[in-house]
């Protein structure tokens, strides 16, 4: 079920590196205010999909419509200007700049005042407030992830992509961060596509989910449905049979 009002719509997408497809025939959508989980084991093609949505990897075939326009990998920076924010797997922070400078770079200059955006992000992630003058390279892993999320938030995105938020972090920190993503979607109608290996954590905050394996979509459904079918989820991760999938 896709509609023209979707923030993100992917149709029959093939994408990969040097002309070799890593993701094949992918179809998915994200609507306003919706949190969608993209799940799957290592090497499934989840991060490649997000990088393609951001325009950093060229599309081999198929199409991606994000925020009303077709994605063009020739000018990937324009995606951010249209309202897409991407919390990358490697966090893509600027370690030699301070927390404050990292956040300022995420601000979109407009009439409503940049300070307000900064303040809102710090309200959602108060742990960053005492660290604003510290260099990003000196933060702990959890603090860096908070900064990456905060930097995405200050741009007041319409579509947010979050890649492996739990990578290298203690579960307790992930449990603090993921609900923030849910709050963003609820409060601002931002559409969120979240890539995660921790299935239960992701599905607890998501509305719907897709499961990928070996570059192809193997399952999809509402978060509740997917949580109830743990056996199939496990099979999809381990490469087993998926008879009767929904």
């Amino acid at each position: 079920m896709t509609e023209s009002s979707d923030l993100l719509r992917i149709e029959n997408l093939d994408t990969g590196y040097a002309g070799v497809p890593v993701v094949r025939d992918l179809n998915l959508y994200v609507a306003k205010g919706e949190v969608v989980a993209l799940l799957g084991p290592n090497g499934a093609g989840k991060s490649t999909t997000l990088l393609t949505i951001s325009g950093l990897i060229p599309i081999l075939s198929g199409s991606i419509f994000a925020l009303g326009e077709e994605v063009d990998s020739r000018n990937p920076h324009l995606m951010a200007r249209r309202g897409l924010a991407h919390v990358a797997e490697d966090r893509s922070l600027f370690f030699n700049l301070t927390v404050n400078e990292n956040l300022k770079l995420g601000l979109r200059p407009d009439k409503t005042g940049m300070e307000a955006g900064l303040e809102r992000a710090l309200e959602m992630l108060p742990a960053l407030r005492p660290l604003v003058n510290r260099r990003a390279g000196l933060l702990s892993g959890g603090e860096q992830q908070m900064l990456a999320v905060a930097r995405a938030l200050v741009s007041r995105p319409k579509l947010l992509l979050v890649d492996e938020m739990s990578l290298g972090l203690a579960p307790i920190i992930v449990e603090q961060l993921l609900p923030i993503v849910r709050d963003i979607a609820d409060q601002t109608e931002t559409g969120v596509l979240i890539v995660e290996q921790h299935v239960n954590l992701a599905l607890n905050v998501a509305d719907r989910g897709y499961v990928m394996n070996h570059g192809e979509l193997v399952m999809e459904g509402s978060a509740e449905e997917l949580l109830e079918r743990q056996d199939l989820l496990e099979a999809s991760y381990l490469g087993g049979e998926l008879e009767g999938e929904g």
Partner: protein, 720 residues
Amino acid sequence: MDVLFGAFAGLGAGAVFAILGVGLVVAYRGSGVINFAHGAVAAYTAFTWDELRNTTHGAYVKDDGGSIFLPWFDPIPEWGFLKALHINNLPVEIHIMNDPPVWLAALLSLAMAAFIGFLMHIMVFRPLRNAPLLAKVIGSVGVMLYLQSVANLNFGGANRADNGFWEFTSTNEPIRNFLGMDRNLAGSTLYLAVAALIIGTATWALYRFTRFGLATRAADENEKGATLLGYSPQLLAGLNWVISSVLAGAIGILFIHRAGPPTFILFVVPALAAALVGSLTSIMGALAGGFGIGMIASMGVNATSYDWWPEWLPSDGVRTFAPVLVMILVLYFRGDRLPIRGTVGVGRQPRAPFAKHPLVGLGIGIGIVVLMSNIFTANWESTLTTTLLSIMFMLSLTVLVGFLGQISLVQWSLAGFACWTLIRLSADGTKIRAMDFLAIDGPGWPDPLAALAAIIAAVILGVLISIPALRIRGVQLAVVTLAAVVAIEDLLLRNEPLMGAGAATTNPTPDPNWFGVEVGALDEKTFRTDYWKYTIFALIFVAIGGLIVANLRRGILGRRFLAIRSNERAAAAAGVDVARTKMIGFGVSSLLAGMAGILVAYKVPVITSEYFNPFVGLGFLAFVYLGGITTVWGAIFGGLLAAGGIISEFGSLHFEGITQAYINAVGAIGLVINAIVTNGEGVALMLTNRSKEMTGVMRGTSSSPNEVSGSIDANTQEVS
């Protein structure tokens, strides 16, 4: 007190180094490229200024002035039927007005600098953004050679003696009894220093306090991160190229009353040292570094006037060695902290296929040269030997740059060192020829022994130079070795107490006799420089060099070289002794360069150190890269294409308007295109691939060499 005054006297030169250094930092932060053409941009802008103001009192004076020359040239020279068709009128000169005011001339000159910066970004460095380091260095060297050649074509190339303007004039009143030191300081020195401080501080503020500066710093560290936040790294790079070029242009205009525009090109060396003091990222560090280097060099030069100063350490050498010393110290102690720009992707290294049948290739080559030697006479025989000499030298670059991946720009100076050593060792205190102006003292060694000792001397110096390379790599090695070129010329080649009476002027070369055979190019009876025995001698040298390189690539040492080129840490993990292998590589390359130096010494009756200036060496690097830096065939193609080689000589002799500057400019364009399109594999591999494709078509097979290289290993492909 004199030494202290020397420090103040160095403020003027320091101001130039400082602002050029700041410009280099700006370009590096914006694009990750160390711009060897930065001094050339200053030179072109200074030429533009001088042309507009027409205050020239030098040898070359335009009739009208008030014109600007766009940074290109008529691509098709005026010859034959093309002249009648008038199809070659690409606009180059635009007349603005006679005697434009200072502000307009300055504005137009800076606009020219900005335009050059924009073109450099769009046409060279943007396409090379994900290319390997070597391609970026070559691109930058190509731009330098191009700007130098185009300046030569558009402005005549001769030096200018411009009076400058406002307080920046050579006629400015000196500051008498400066600070009570009983010495007069040149009037413009302090103004230059203040101007540099203002420009440098304003640039620092731009990058410290504006969103553009913040975004530039961010993209410098993480392009992907900046892109994801909505900043275009390429737009930022373009703006930074423009700012960098304007800074170079500004100091070119301010300093023109002190030095002619061509001088600016090599100011890039101390400017690079200044930029390194600032770790390639700190504008204020580069500013301080530039002033420091200018002051230290000036103090050193002042010190040479004392009686206690050793005669064998000339003042020119002290001045040019100061930046080298600063560079080595900075890189040695802080090299690991210098930033390497992270890009979204990095392209692959050029392939280095090995020759399948080197002896067959050698036989064909010898046959062709012997045939040519029999057909050619007079100038053409000389052109043939110039080609052989170029090939000989380029083989040294194939080993060091192509196989080992060490971007060393000093090899041509090693050839010069071998040449000078040979002259000194074979001299016996008597005039070699009746026409010689002077006699050189020396031990009078037999020619083969002197040649062997000269080659060994080049190898020793080359291995010594490789010691910093054990810690310094990549583009930083290119920077240090470029500085070493200038220092070697002034410290060794032009050092008469060390190298003999003619070292700094005209050095008479030996009249070589190897085991009873006269092997010099000069026929003593006819005074013609096309003696066939020299051609055979050069051919033997090139054949030995070619076999050394071909077999090196085929053996385990060649594979170790390629492993180091690909990834030093991985090579070390695989059991390769990186330090030892690098030193062997430098040694082999220096041996080949030394052999080229011997060929130079035997080719001309007298020689000056100008023959070994950095631009000649960079020209060789340019043409071997164009031919193909990773194969023996590439060196052969490079030798044919190089200045004075058969192809360029053919153009010069048969087509009116094709001057050496024209050939160099076209060569520089080819170099840049080659860096972008073929990734340094050059004409040789391109032709090899095409011939294999054609062979495949004729045999009815569909596989192309590219498919093979893509699926197996790029370096195992063979060429015959």
